[in-house]
Amino acid sequence: MVTFKRSYAKAFLMLNPLKKILLRRESSKRSRSAAARKPKLGEILVRAEGICKGFPGVWEHLILDRINFDVKSGEVHALLGENGAGKTVLANILSGFYSLSKGRIYARGKPISIKSPKDALEHGIGMVHQEFTLARPLTVAENVALGLAESNFSFPLSKVEKRIRELSDRYGLKVDPKARVEELSAGEQQRVEILKTLYHEPEVIILDEPTSVLTPEESKRLFSILRAMAREGRGVVFITHKLEEVMEVSDRVTVLRLGKLIGTRKTSETNRRELVRMMMGREVTFRPKRKPVKLGEVALEVKDLHVLDEKGLLAVKGISLTVREGEILGIAGVAGNGQSELVEAITGLREVIKGKVLVFGKDVTNHSPKKLMEAGMVHIPEERRRMGVAEGMTSAENLIMKDYRTSPFSRWTFLNRSFITRHTERMVSEYDIMVPDLWRTETRILSGGNIQRLILARETWREPRLIVAVHPTYGLDLKALRHTHDLFLRLKEKGTAILLVSEDLDEVMSLSDRIAVIFEGKIVGTVDAARAKVEKIGLMMAGSKV
């Protein structure tokens, strides 16, 4: 199988001469005049002005709204923001992967148009993506050669290998050009990606969240590579949501929030606190009124939980927490810090390798979701379309997914259609779900907000004793969001224990009684929500020790 894929990719390599013939005119026309002159340190290499980006159909919220951004020669420029702030989109526009809707880009003061990644490379802008784009069965050198215009039928790989060795020596990017990519670690693969980009000698190199796959030591090494590249006069753009990294490696930092430019600062002239405030924004949205609730018994207890992620790496590293009846425990954290794995382990969807999960004092570690349901736990899942509903089935069928076994819903294994119709009609009107025909329309055609309401209805109508909810208001409009918050608080007053996992810090702040902050698979601290400062939580989310 591997050999087959290998030959397949080789065949692709051989097709390159054809590409070359087709592109010859274009590439000769565009000689790299800019690269002829070496930039002075501090000279602006690339400047973006008034960049706007909207996607068809969602023009009302621009993903990027009038962004100004520039990169100077010899600097490491950090692009900081939460998930969904638009960092990656901006980088993709600069490197030609996305087109821009409005705005201009200048290279060394001259306006340029970037229509493809190839254009961007011609103008000296290269990008290293967060996800690897490598052909796994090929060697490092072959991977680098794949993207080169000059490779042809009898392309001497030794030339590429030599060049890779040169580059590796120059920047300390240790990679064996003859090694197969599939044998390399994540850190090494990333170095290959960087080499692939460096091979084109870009003046500006953009790295999208490069540290997300790296161990701390590997990150340290990467930072010294970034510094080395900057020293040579390149401009390095470094995308991250981790404050510590910004402080450690960058010269300047630009903060984006929800597609808007918040500001650009010199790293030496700012501090963590200011950056957090810029990143999170601080218009406090409404806080629902809360009555004091007497806490009941411990509903959920997690002890020293260890869970692996898909790649087999430890994603949850010894988390312990408790939620009592009548309490909402919020888990705040940037996505990808182990929240999903934690929730899946608690709800029986992922194996716990060490530690314990107790529901109302009963050990339910690694029990099936069905057993957990019977123990009184309901789960509002993160990926609603993937997990929360069966899209090919009708709304009524989706609304009874958790109840169909029990008595009025089915009798003697026969589904009780008339009761189900009455029940689901009530759900639809109570939770304001818009469904044309309960028994006919496929759930696929419902909007995300409606699907979310459907899931909320299904999970909460019985007033469960323990709810594990992930982003419960994701995609809901303001009214529905308020309804959901009220619902959660009402349930809480009735003695429901709620574990609330959300990236939306406002939501966590306004609902929770206590907030636990998760970072890299560990709870870095638990604070009382009433007295918590947003800045402090933000700092903890960004991995800063407080």
């Binding site: 009302e60 709800t347 969807l349 099936s368 979701p369 069905k370 057993k371 957990l372 349901m373 789960h379 899942p381 993937r386 997990m387 929360g388 509903v389 069966a390 899209e391 090919g392 089935m393 069928e397 997914m401 958790k402 169909y404 076994r405 089915s410 294994t413 026969f414 589904l415 259609r417 818009m434 044309p436 025909d437 006919r440 329309t441 496929e442 055609i445 909007s447 409009d477 009214k479």
Partner: protein
């Protein structure tokens, strides 16, 4: 907030802006399969006509002759029940093997094991019908049940391989089809033979299904009942609901606390039972009341069932008309050969084109779902 923005916001939140979307969704949900099927038949007929023209046959004459397969326009009569009964005789096994495939698809499987399970069912039926003496009345019942159980037994292995080892059902069922082929051929020659070596022993009179006309037996009533039964099972009973949910989204099923293994097992077993019944319907029928040791009169029904299921949109009720359509097509071949002297191979080609065209929308939908 200016006025325009306010209005836009209100509109986007109100039902009105969503109405067109919802309406279209409803139309899509209901009418689309019908329109697609009609279009597919049309395309199939056109291409079939082109083939006939290329080979210098009159397509109109050809299609009129094809209608005879359904008992229409024969010998100056608008409808001839007897010929239609022949079409139904072909339709019976199609219906059942299609059901095997459809129940697989509903559980997210590509179960093409009907062919082999049908052979095993035929062998079991033949043995029970010809070699075991039982009181009349009960004998027919015993033959039917035994054939079904044998078919189900043959489906257990791919089911377990899938559940325990994740072996893809296409691989395991294809291999088991060939195992069944040679096993049944061996059984037919050495253990089920009657007077002649090339044909299995005649079923005892007590084991024969009542004959309605020609080769059509009362098995068709059992087949129809089975279709309705499977429909009720899938849409009105909760194990069937679980099966469909597993097929639609296994992640959601797991999240809802269902047992995916159980649903897959159930789907295979139902498929096996039904395919076994198809075997019985072919092994115990006039004129021979047995089957050839070459398995010539059993072959192909399992795979044809895939096409029938696709045309019937993998719906137990939709399969019934689809099977009758295919049955008539199979029966019309002899008329086309006789009337306009088309070679039987060409008849097969024309039928194949129509079948492919008809199955296309269903197949595309299946591929789309699988690709997701």
């Amino acid at each position: 907030m200016d006025v325009g923005e306010f209005v836009r916001l209100r509109l986007s939140q109100s039902m009105i802006s969503k109405l067109p979307n919802l309406f279209m969704g409803y139309i899509r949900g209901l009418k689309r399969p019908l329109i697609e099927s009609a279009f597919a038949i049309f395309v199939g007929l056109i291409v079939g006509a082109l083939i006939m023209i290329i080979f210098r046959h009159d397509p109109i004459e050809g299609y009129i002759s094809m209608l005879k397969g359904y008992g229409i326009f024969i010998a100056k009569r608008t409808f001839m029940t007897r010929e239609f009964m022949f079409a139904l005789a072909f339709a019976t096994p199609y219906m059942l093997t299609a059901l095997t495939f459809a129940v697989g698809v509903r559980a997210g499987l590509f179960n093409i094991g009907a062919e082999g399970q049908l052979y095993i069912g035929a062998a079991a039926a033949s043995w029970m019908a010809a070699h075991v003496a039982l009181p009349s009345g009960f004998h027919v019942f015993a033959v039917t049940v035994f054939a079904m159980l044998a078919g189900a037994l043959w489906a257990v292995l791919p089911a377990l391989l899938k559940i325990w080892k994740g072996v893809h059902e296409v691989i395991s069922t294809i291999m088991l089809n060939w195992m069944a082929f040679y096993l049944v051929m061996y059984l037919a020659i050495y253990h089920l033979r009657g007077i002649w070596a090339h044909i299995t022993k005649e079923a005892l009179p007590t084991a024969r299904y009542p004959v309605l006309a020609g080769s059509l037996t009362a098995v068709i009533f059992i087949a129809l009942l089975v279709c309705i039964g499977v429909y009720i099972f899938l849409w009105r009973m909760h194990p069937g609901y679980e099966l469909r949910l597993v097929g639609d989204n296994p992640d959601a099923a797991r999240y809802a606390g269902m047992s995916i293994s159980r649903a897959i097992f159930l789907s295979f077993i139902i498929g096996g039972l039904v395919a076994g019944l198809a075997g019985a319907s072919l092994a115990v029928r006039p004129e021979k009341w047995g089957f050839h040791a070459t398995l010539g009169d059993l072959m192909g029904y399992g795979f044809a069932g895939i096409g029938v299921a696709l045309v019937g949109r993998n719906h137990p009720i939709g399969i019934i008309p689809a099977a009758i359509f295919f049955g008539g097509l199979a029966h019309s071949g002899r008329f086309m050969e006789f009337d306009i002297r088309i070679s039987s191979e060409l008849v097969g080609a024309i039928q194949g084109v129509i079948i492919i065209a008809m199955a296309l929308p269903g197949l595309l939908a299946l591929i789309r779902r699988k690709a997701k």
